[in-house]
Protein backbone atom coordinates (compact mmCIF):
# COMPACT_ATOMS: atom_id res chain seq x y z
CA UNK A 1 0.00 0.00 0.00
CA UNK A 2 1.22 3.40 -0.89
CA UNK A 3 0.85 5.44 2.20
CA UNK A 4 1.10 9.16 2.32
CA UNK A 5 0.88 11.02 5.55
CA UNK A 6 0.55 14.76 5.52
CA UNK A 7 1.21 16.48 8.72
CA UNK A 8 0.60 20.12 9.25
CA UNK A 9 1.83 22.20 12.04
CA UNK A 10 0.64 25.65 12.83
CA UNK A 11 3.17 27.59 14.76
CA UNK A 12 2.88 30.95 16.21
CA UNK A 13 5.23 33.61 14.97
CA UNK A 14 4.29 36.45 17.20
CA UNK A 15 6.54 39.25 16.16
CA UNK A 16 9.02 40.42 18.73
CA UNK A 17 8.35 44.08 18.36
CA UNK A 18 9.40 45.65 21.60
CA UNK A 19 12.96 46.54 22.30
CA UNK A 20 13.48 43.96 25.00
CA UNK A 21 12.41 41.14 22.74
CA UNK A 22 13.97 42.20 19.46
CA UNK A 23 16.90 39.82 19.39
CA UNK A 24 18.60 41.31 16.40
CA UNK A 25 21.92 40.08 17.76
CA UNK A 26 21.58 36.41 18.53
CA UNK A 27 23.07 34.67 21.52
CA UNK A 28 25.44 32.81 19.23
CA UNK A 29 26.66 36.09 17.80
CA UNK A 30 27.15 37.51 21.28
CA UNK A 31 29.08 34.42 22.33
CA UNK A 32 31.20 34.60 19.21
CA UNK A 33 32.43 38.02 20.35
CA UNK A 34 33.95 36.35 23.39
CA UNK A 35 37.06 35.38 21.45
CA UNK A 36 38.92 33.80 24.37
CA UNK A 37 35.76 32.07 25.54
CA UNK A 38 36.11 33.12 29.17
CA UNK A 39 32.50 34.21 29.63
CA UNK A 40 33.24 37.93 29.48
CA UNK A 41 33.17 40.55 26.77
CA UNK A 42 36.37 42.13 27.93
CA UNK A 43 37.67 45.68 27.42
CA UNK A 44 39.58 45.95 24.19
CA UNK A 45 38.72 44.34 20.87
CA UNK A 46 35.81 42.32 22.29
CA UNK A 47 34.04 45.32 23.80
CA UNK A 48 34.87 47.46 20.78
CA UNK A 49 33.31 44.89 18.50
CA UNK A 50 30.19 44.85 20.65
CA UNK A 51 30.06 48.63 20.49
CA UNK A 52 30.17 48.56 16.70
CA UNK A 53 27.03 46.39 16.80
CA UNK A 54 25.26 48.91 19.01
CA UNK A 55 22.44 49.35 16.53
CA UNK A 56 21.65 45.65 16.77
CA UNK A 57 21.39 45.48 20.55
CA UNK A 58 18.18 45.23 22.50
CA UNK A 59 17.52 47.42 25.51
CA UNK A 60 19.13 45.06 28.01
CA UNK A 61 22.25 44.64 25.94
CA UNK A 62 22.45 48.34 25.17
CA UNK A 63 22.16 49.36 28.82
CA UNK A 64 24.83 46.83 29.77
CA UNK A 65 27.12 48.25 27.10
CA UNK A 66 26.50 51.88 27.98
CA UNK A 67 26.84 51.15 31.67
CA UNK A 68 30.24 49.59 31.05
CA UNK A 69 31.28 52.62 29.04
CA UNK A 70 29.97 55.06 31.65
CA UNK A 71 31.31 53.13 34.64
CA UNK A 72 33.90 50.60 33.49
CA UNK A 73 34.65 47.77 35.85
CA UNK A 74 37.82 46.81 34.06
CA UNK A 75 36.49 43.28 33.57
CA UNK A 76 33.91 43.99 30.91
CA UNK A 77 30.42 42.48 30.62
CA UNK A 78 29.47 38.91 31.52
CA UNK A 79 28.26 37.07 28.43
CA UNK A 80 25.42 35.50 30.39
CA UNK A 81 24.15 38.97 31.26
CA UNK A 82 24.07 39.92 27.59
CA UNK A 83 22.31 36.74 26.55
CA UNK A 84 19.93 36.48 29.45
CA UNK A 85 16.26 37.22 29.07
CA UNK A 86 14.39 37.49 32.33
CA UNK A 87 11.09 35.75 32.25
CA UNK A 88 9.26 38.93 33.10
CA UNK A 89 10.68 40.71 30.11
CA UNK A 90 9.01 38.27 27.81
CA UNK A 91 6.08 37.27 29.96
CA UNK A 92 3.59 39.84 28.88
CA UNK A 93 5.01 40.44 25.44
CA UNK A 94 4.54 36.82 24.44
CA UNK A 95 0.95 36.82 25.61
CA UNK A 96 -0.12 38.93 22.69
CA UNK A 97 -3.32 37.57 21.15
CA UNK A 98 -2.21 38.41 17.64
CA UNK A 99 -2.92 34.84 16.60
CA UNK A 100 -6.14 33.22 17.69
CA UNK A 101 -6.35 30.11 15.55
CA UNK A 102 -4.39 26.96 16.37
CA UNK A 103 -4.00 23.60 14.69
CA UNK A 104 -2.04 20.99 16.62
CA UNK A 105 -1.74 17.26 17.05
CA UNK A 106 -3.74 17.40 20.28
CA UNK A 107 -5.28 20.06 22.46
CA UNK A 108 -2.45 19.50 24.92
CA UNK A 109 -0.05 20.84 22.30
CA UNK A 110 -1.95 24.12 22.11
CA UNK A 111 -0.23 26.73 24.22
CA UNK A 112 -2.47 29.75 24.49
CA UNK A 113 0.02 31.68 26.60
CA UNK A 114 3.69 32.45 26.01
CA UNK A 115 3.54 30.84 22.63
CA UNK A 116 6.95 32.07 21.51
CA UNK A 117 8.59 30.14 24.29
CA UNK A 118 6.83 26.84 23.81
CA UNK A 119 6.23 26.74 20.07
CA UNK A 120 9.25 24.54 19.53
CA UNK A 121 7.65 21.71 21.41
CA UNK A 122 4.35 21.80 19.62
CA UNK A 123 3.41 18.95 17.33
CA UNK A 124 1.23 19.42 14.27
CA UNK A 125 -2.00 17.81 13.23
CA UNK A 126 -1.73 14.86 10.88
CA UNK A 127 -3.92 13.93 7.95
CA UNK A 128 -3.32 10.80 5.93
CA UNK A 129 -4.69 9.25 2.80
CA UNK A 130 -3.65 6.00 1.17
CA UNK A 131 -4.67 4.07 -1.90
CA UNK A 132 -4.15 0.36 -2.57
CA UNK A 133 -4.76 -0.34 -6.27
CA UNK A 134 -4.44 -4.10 -5.82
CA UNK A 135 -7.49 -4.29 -3.58
CA UNK A 136 -9.07 -1.12 -4.91
CA UNK A 137 -9.44 0.38 -1.47
CA UNK A 138 -8.62 3.74 -0.01
CA UNK A 139 -7.66 4.42 3.56
CA UNK A 140 -7.49 7.53 5.65
CA UNK A 141 -6.57 8.73 9.08
CA UNK A 142 -6.67 12.06 10.84
CA UNK A 143 -5.59 13.41 14.18
CA UNK A 144 -5.55 16.96 15.38
CA UNK A 145 -7.08 19.75 17.39
CA UNK A 146 -8.43 23.09 16.29
CA UNK A 147 -8.70 25.81 18.91
CA UNK A 148 -9.79 29.41 18.75
CA UNK A 149 -8.50 31.79 21.38
CA UNK A 150 -11.61 33.54 22.66
CA UNK A 151 -10.15 35.36 25.62
CA UNK A 152 -6.75 36.04 27.04
CA UNK A 153 -5.59 38.29 29.78
CA UNK A 154 -1.84 38.51 30.28
CA UNK A 155 -0.70 39.52 33.70
CA UNK A 156 -4.09 38.91 35.25
CA UNK A 157 -2.55 38.29 38.62
CA UNK A 158 0.65 40.28 38.60
CA UNK A 159 4.26 39.19 38.67
CA UNK A 160 6.60 37.55 41.12
CA UNK A 161 7.14 34.01 42.19
CA UNK A 162 3.99 31.95 42.10
CA UNK A 163 1.85 34.73 40.67
CA UNK A 164 -0.94 34.07 38.23
CA UNK A 165 0.68 35.73 35.25
CA UNK A 166 -1.79 34.93 32.53
CA UNK A 167 -5.04 33.21 31.72
CA UNK A 168 -6.77 32.30 28.47
CA UNK A 169 -9.81 30.43 27.27
CA UNK A 170 -10.35 28.73 23.94
CA UNK A 171 -13.14 26.49 22.62
CA UNK A 172 -11.71 23.60 20.69
CA UNK A 173 -12.49 20.66 18.47
CA UNK A 174 -10.31 17.58 18.71
CA UNK A 175 -10.56 14.79 16.17
CA UNK A 176 -9.04 11.39 15.67
CA UNK A 177 -10.08 8.62 13.36
CA UNK A 178 -9.20 6.14 10.68
CA UNK A 179 -10.98 3.94 8.19
CA UNK A 180 -11.08 2.56 4.68
CA UNK A 181 -13.45 2.81 1.73
CA UNK A 182 -14.86 -0.60 2.66
CA UNK A 183 -14.90 -0.41 6.44
CA UNK A 184 -15.62 2.25 9.01
CA UNK A 185 -12.90 2.57 11.56
CA UNK A 186 -12.83 3.93 15.05
CA UNK A 187 -13.06 7.65 15.60
CA UNK A 188 -13.62 10.36 18.15
CA UNK A 189 -14.73 13.94 17.92
CA UNK A 190 -14.31 16.05 21.03
CA UNK A 191 -15.75 19.48 21.74
CA UNK A 192 -14.39 21.31 24.74
CA UNK A 193 -13.13 24.50 26.27
CA UNK A 194 -9.48 24.86 27.17
CA UNK A 195 -8.93 27.05 30.22
CA UNK A 196 -5.27 27.77 30.63
CA UNK A 197 -3.67 29.46 33.62
CA UNK A 198 -0.07 30.46 33.81
CA UNK A 199 1.92 30.78 37.00
CA UNK A 200 5.42 32.13 37.36
CA UNK A 201 7.94 29.71 38.77
CA UNK A 202 11.52 29.94 39.85
CA UNK A 203 14.88 30.25 38.11
CA UNK A 204 14.87 26.68 36.87
CA UNK A 205 11.22 26.22 35.97
CA UNK A 206 10.13 29.64 34.89
CA UNK A 207 6.48 29.02 34.15
CA UNK A 208 3.75 26.55 34.93
CA UNK A 209 0.79 26.10 32.63
CA UNK A 210 -2.28 24.54 34.18
CA UNK A 211 -5.14 23.67 31.86
CA UNK A 212 -8.61 22.52 32.84
CA UNK A 213 -10.73 21.26 29.97
CA UNK A 214 -14.37 20.21 30.24
CA UNK A 215 -15.29 18.28 27.11
CA UNK A 216 -17.88 16.21 25.28
CA UNK A 217 -16.81 13.42 22.95
CA UNK A 218 -18.75 11.77 20.17
CA UNK A 219 -17.62 9.97 17.01
CA UNK A 220 -17.75 10.78 13.31
CA UNK A 221 -21.27 9.25 13.16
CA UNK A 222 -22.42 11.23 16.21
CA UNK A 223 -23.26 7.98 18.02
CA UNK A 224 -20.89 8.17 20.97
CA UNK A 225 -21.73 10.23 24.04
CA UNK A 226 -18.91 10.75 26.47
CA UNK A 227 -18.55 13.51 29.05
CA UNK A 228 -15.28 14.35 30.66
CA UNK A 229 -12.93 16.71 32.41
CA UNK A 230 -9.16 16.86 32.19
CA UNK A 231 -6.54 18.78 34.14
CA UNK A 232 -3.04 19.17 32.77
CA UNK A 233 0.15 20.53 34.29
CA UNK A 234 2.94 21.60 31.98
CA UNK A 235 6.17 23.04 33.39
CA UNK A 236 8.14 25.35 31.13
CA UNK A 237 11.88 25.71 31.54
CA UNK A 238 14.05 27.31 28.92
CA UNK A 239 17.16 26.46 30.94
CA UNK A 240 16.37 22.73 30.98
CA UNK A 241 14.69 22.95 27.58
CA UNK A 242 11.50 21.41 28.86
CA UNK A 243 8.48 22.40 26.78
CA UNK A 244 10.52 25.27 25.39
CA UNK A 245 13.90 26.41 24.30
CA UNK A 246 15.20 29.96 23.87
CA UNK A 247 13.71 30.31 20.41
CA UNK A 248 15.71 33.22 19.15
CA UNK A 249 16.36 33.49 15.50
CA UNK A 250 19.74 32.14 14.54
CA UNK A 251 20.23 30.14 17.70
CA UNK A 252 21.15 26.51 17.51
CA UNK A 253 18.24 24.45 18.75
CA UNK A 254 19.95 21.18 19.41
CA UNK A 255 17.42 19.46 21.63
CA UNK A 256 14.36 19.92 23.81
CA UNK A 257 12.03 17.90 25.99
CA UNK A 258 8.30 17.92 25.97
CA UNK A 259 6.51 16.85 29.12
CA UNK A 260 3.14 17.20 30.79
CA UNK A 261 1.16 15.36 33.43
CA UNK A 262 -2.57 14.87 33.26
CA UNK A 263 -5.58 13.52 35.11
CA UNK A 264 -8.68 12.82 33.04
CA UNK A 265 -12.18 11.69 33.94
CA UNK A 266 -14.53 10.24 31.33
CA UNK A 267 -18.13 9.07 31.73
CA UNK A 268 -19.20 6.95 28.78
CA UNK A 269 -22.96 7.12 28.19
CA UNK A 270 -22.65 5.60 24.71
CA UNK A 271 -19.39 4.23 23.29
CA UNK A 272 -20.34 4.55 19.60
CA UNK A 273 -17.33 4.04 17.32
CA UNK A 274 -14.78 4.44 20.07
CA UNK A 275 -13.09 1.63 21.96
CA UNK A 276 -14.60 2.69 25.28
CA UNK A 277 -17.27 0.61 26.96
CA UNK A 278 -20.80 1.95 27.32
CA UNK A 279 -21.67 2.66 30.94
CA UNK A 280 -18.06 2.71 32.14
CA UNK A 281 -16.28 5.48 33.93
CA UNK A 282 -12.57 6.10 33.42
CA UNK A 283 -10.13 7.89 35.66
CA UNK A 284 -6.82 8.31 33.88
CA UNK A 285 -3.61 9.45 35.50
CA UNK A 286 -0.52 9.80 33.35
CA UNK A 287 1.35 12.00 31.01
CA UNK A 288 3.50 12.56 27.96
CA UNK A 289 7.26 12.66 27.55
CA UNK A 290 9.18 13.25 24.36
CA UNK A 291 12.70 14.18 23.35
CA UNK A 292 13.66 15.92 20.13
CA UNK A 293 17.26 16.09 18.98
CA UNK A 294 18.60 18.07 16.06
CA UNK A 295 21.79 16.71 14.53
CA UNK A 296 23.69 19.97 14.74
CA UNK A 297 22.28 23.44 14.27
CA UNK A 298 18.70 23.60 13.10
CA UNK A 299 18.89 24.51 9.43
CA UNK A 300 17.67 23.35 6.05
CA UNK A 301 18.78 19.83 5.24
CA UNK A 302 19.47 19.03 8.89
CA UNK A 303 18.10 15.81 10.34
CA UNK A 304 16.31 15.52 13.64
CA UNK A 305 14.74 12.75 15.62
CA UNK A 306 11.91 12.61 18.14
CA UNK A 307 11.08 9.87 20.61
CA UNK A 308 7.78 10.11 22.45
CA UNK A 309 5.97 8.03 25.02
CA UNK A 310 2.50 8.44 26.52
CA UNK A 311 1.44 6.46 29.56
CA UNK A 312 -1.92 6.59 31.31
CA UNK A 313 -3.26 4.38 34.08
CA UNK A 314 -6.99 4.02 34.59
CA UNK A 315 -7.44 3.96 38.35
CA UNK A 316 -11.13 3.10 38.00
CA UNK A 317 -10.60 -0.03 35.92
CA UNK A 318 -6.97 -0.99 36.49
CA UNK A 319 -5.85 -0.77 32.89
CA UNK A 320 -3.36 1.25 30.91
CA UNK A 321 -3.16 3.16 27.65
CA UNK A 322 0.35 3.44 26.28
CA UNK A 323 1.53 4.95 23.02
CA UNK A 324 5.10 5.06 21.71
CA UNK A 325 6.21 7.12 18.73
CA UNK A 326 9.53 7.51 16.96
CA UNK A 327 10.29 10.03 14.24
CA UNK A 328 13.19 10.74 11.93
CA UNK A 329 12.85 13.97 10.01
CA UNK A 330 14.69 16.51 7.92
CA UNK A 331 14.11 20.25 7.79
CA UNK A 332 13.23 21.48 4.34
CA UNK A 333 13.31 25.25 4.84
CA UNK A 334 15.65 27.85 6.27
CA UNK A 335 13.32 28.67 9.13
CA UNK A 336 13.27 24.99 10.18
CA UNK A 337 9.52 25.04 10.41
CA UNK A 338 8.82 22.61 7.60
CA UNK A 339 10.08 19.07 7.48
CA UNK A 340 9.62 15.61 6.06
CA UNK A 341 9.21 13.00 8.76
CA UNK A 342 9.24 9.22 8.85
CA UNK A 343 7.32 8.16 11.93
CA UNK A 344 6.34 4.93 13.63
CA UNK A 345 3.60 4.69 16.26
CA UNK A 346 2.49 1.74 18.34
CA UNK A 347 0.07 1.51 21.23
CA UNK A 348 -3.32 2.89 22.13
CA UNK A 349 -4.40 6.52 21.98
CA UNK A 350 -6.19 8.01 24.93
CA UNK A 351 -8.76 9.97 22.94
CA UNK A 352 -10.68 6.93 21.65
CA UNK A 353 -8.64 4.02 23.02
CA UNK A 354 -8.00 3.19 19.37
CA UNK A 355 -5.10 0.82 18.71
CA UNK A 356 -2.30 2.33 16.65
CA UNK A 357 0.45 0.45 14.83
CA UNK A 358 1.80 2.07 11.71
CA UNK A 359 4.69 3.54 9.79
CA UNK A 360 4.23 6.67 7.72
CA UNK A 361 6.09 9.24 5.72
CA UNK A 362 4.89 12.66 6.70
CA UNK A 363 5.19 16.17 5.43
CA UNK A 364 5.12 18.62 8.28
CA UNK A 365 4.33 22.16 7.33
CA UNK A 366 4.48 25.18 9.59
CA UNK A 367 2.65 28.40 9.00
Amino acid sequence: MIYFLARTIATVSAAATCGSMAYALTNEEIKSLDSNNNGWIEPGPELQELATRRGDLNRRQLVLLIDEQVAPTGKGIPVDQLTRLTIEESLFKDNNPDRRFFLRESIEDVSLLNRNRVAASDAGASFAFGRDNLTNTSSWSAQGAIAWLAYTRPGCGGTGKGALSGCAFAPYLEFQGEGTSTEKGESSLTFGVKSQFEYTGNKKVELHHVSINPFFTTDFDWEAEIYGLSATWRPISTKMRVNAYPARQGDAATYWWNFYGQVRYQNVQEAGRTSFVTGDEYGWVGGHLSYTRVMGNAKVGQFFTTLAYDYYYDVANDRTAELANAQLGVFIDEQTKNSVVLSYSKGRSLQSLTKVDGLGLSLRIAF
Binding site: R59, I87, G160, K203
Partner: protein, 100 residues
Protein backbone atom coordinates in the same frame (compact mmCIF):
# COMPACT_ATOMS: atom_id res chain seq x y z
CA UNK B 1 5.49 69.50 25.42
CA UNK B 2 8.30 66.97 25.18
CA UNK B 3 10.03 66.07 28.39
CA UNK B 4 13.62 67.06 28.85
CA UNK B 5 16.07 64.33 27.76
CA UNK B 6 18.05 62.87 30.61
CA UNK B 7 21.59 61.53 30.45
CA UNK B 8 22.08 57.89 31.34
CA UNK B 9 24.97 58.76 33.63
CA UNK B 10 22.74 61.12 35.59
CA UNK B 11 20.02 58.53 36.11
CA UNK B 12 22.62 56.00 37.10
CA UNK B 13 24.12 58.38 39.62
CA UNK B 14 20.69 58.96 41.23
CA UNK B 15 19.98 55.24 41.32
CA UNK B 16 23.31 54.29 42.86
CA UNK B 17 22.98 57.10 45.36
CA UNK B 18 19.66 55.76 46.59
CA UNK B 19 20.86 52.16 46.60
CA UNK B 20 23.97 53.09 48.56
CA UNK B 21 21.92 55.11 51.03
CA UNK B 22 19.54 52.21 51.51
CA UNK B 23 22.38 49.76 52.07
CA UNK B 24 24.39 52.16 54.19
CA UNK B 25 27.47 51.95 52.01
CA UNK B 26 29.34 54.08 49.54
CA UNK B 27 28.04 53.96 45.99
CA UNK B 28 31.49 52.93 44.82
CA UNK B 29 31.07 49.67 46.68
CA UNK B 30 28.12 48.61 44.58
CA UNK B 31 28.78 45.89 42.00
CA UNK B 32 26.69 46.38 38.93
CA UNK B 33 26.34 42.66 38.27
CA UNK B 34 25.67 41.75 41.88
CA UNK B 35 22.23 40.46 42.88
CA UNK B 36 20.14 43.40 44.01
CA UNK B 37 19.26 41.40 47.09
CA UNK B 38 22.85 41.91 48.30
CA UNK B 39 21.96 45.51 49.02
CA UNK B 40 18.24 45.59 49.77
CA UNK B 41 17.61 42.14 51.18
CA UNK B 42 15.94 39.14 49.62
CA UNK B 43 12.42 38.68 48.46
CA UNK B 44 10.21 40.19 45.84
CA UNK B 45 8.51 42.42 48.39
CA UNK B 46 11.78 44.13 49.27
CA UNK B 47 12.63 44.50 45.61
CA UNK B 48 9.28 46.06 44.77
CA UNK B 49 9.33 48.36 47.78
CA UNK B 50 12.76 49.70 46.94
CA UNK B 51 12.03 50.13 43.24
CA UNK B 52 8.76 51.94 43.84
CA UNK B 53 10.39 54.16 46.46
CA UNK B 54 12.64 55.55 43.73
CA UNK B 55 9.62 57.36 42.28
CA UNK B 56 9.69 59.81 45.17
CA UNK B 57 13.42 60.37 45.40
CA UNK B 58 15.17 63.59 44.36
CA UNK B 59 15.72 63.73 40.63
CA UNK B 60 13.43 60.84 39.82
CA UNK B 61 10.37 62.52 41.33
CA UNK B 62 10.99 65.64 39.26
CA UNK B 63 11.22 63.50 36.14
CA UNK B 64 7.98 61.72 36.96
CA UNK B 65 9.44 58.23 37.36
CA UNK B 66 6.51 55.86 37.61
CA UNK B 67 7.70 52.35 38.42
CA UNK B 68 4.83 50.10 39.43
CA UNK B 69 4.74 46.76 41.16
CA UNK B 70 3.97 44.94 37.93
CA UNK B 71 7.15 46.31 36.34
CA UNK B 72 9.32 44.43 38.77
CA UNK B 73 10.88 41.12 37.80
CA UNK B 74 11.82 38.37 40.20
CA UNK B 75 13.99 38.90 43.22
CA UNK B 76 17.04 37.27 41.71
CA UNK B 77 17.81 40.16 39.36
CA UNK B 78 20.97 42.16 39.40
CA UNK B 79 21.64 45.80 40.16
CA UNK B 80 21.76 46.55 36.45
CA UNK B 81 18.42 44.82 35.88
CA UNK B 82 16.72 47.53 37.90
CA UNK B 83 18.65 50.12 35.92
CA UNK B 84 17.15 48.61 32.79
CA UNK B 85 13.67 48.93 34.29
CA UNK B 86 14.32 52.57 35.11
CA UNK B 87 15.46 53.26 31.54
CA UNK B 88 12.40 51.46 30.23
CA UNK B 89 10.16 53.63 32.40
CA UNK B 90 11.73 56.76 30.94
CA UNK B 91 11.18 55.47 27.43
CA UNK B 92 7.62 54.41 28.17
CA UNK B 93 6.88 57.95 29.31
CA UNK B 94 8.48 59.33 26.15
CA UNK B 95 11.28 60.95 28.07
CA UNK B 96 14.36 60.11 26.11
CA UNK B 97 17.52 58.86 27.73
CA UNK B 98 20.77 59.97 26.22
CA UNK B 99 22.86 56.85 26.43
CA UNK B 100 26.09 58.59 27.33
Amino acid sequence: MPLKPRRYSTIRKWYYRELAAFAGIDSGQIGKHDPLSNYIGGGIAAYKAFAISLNTKPGFSGDGLNIRANDIPNDTSTVTDLMIIIVKDYEDRNQSVELT
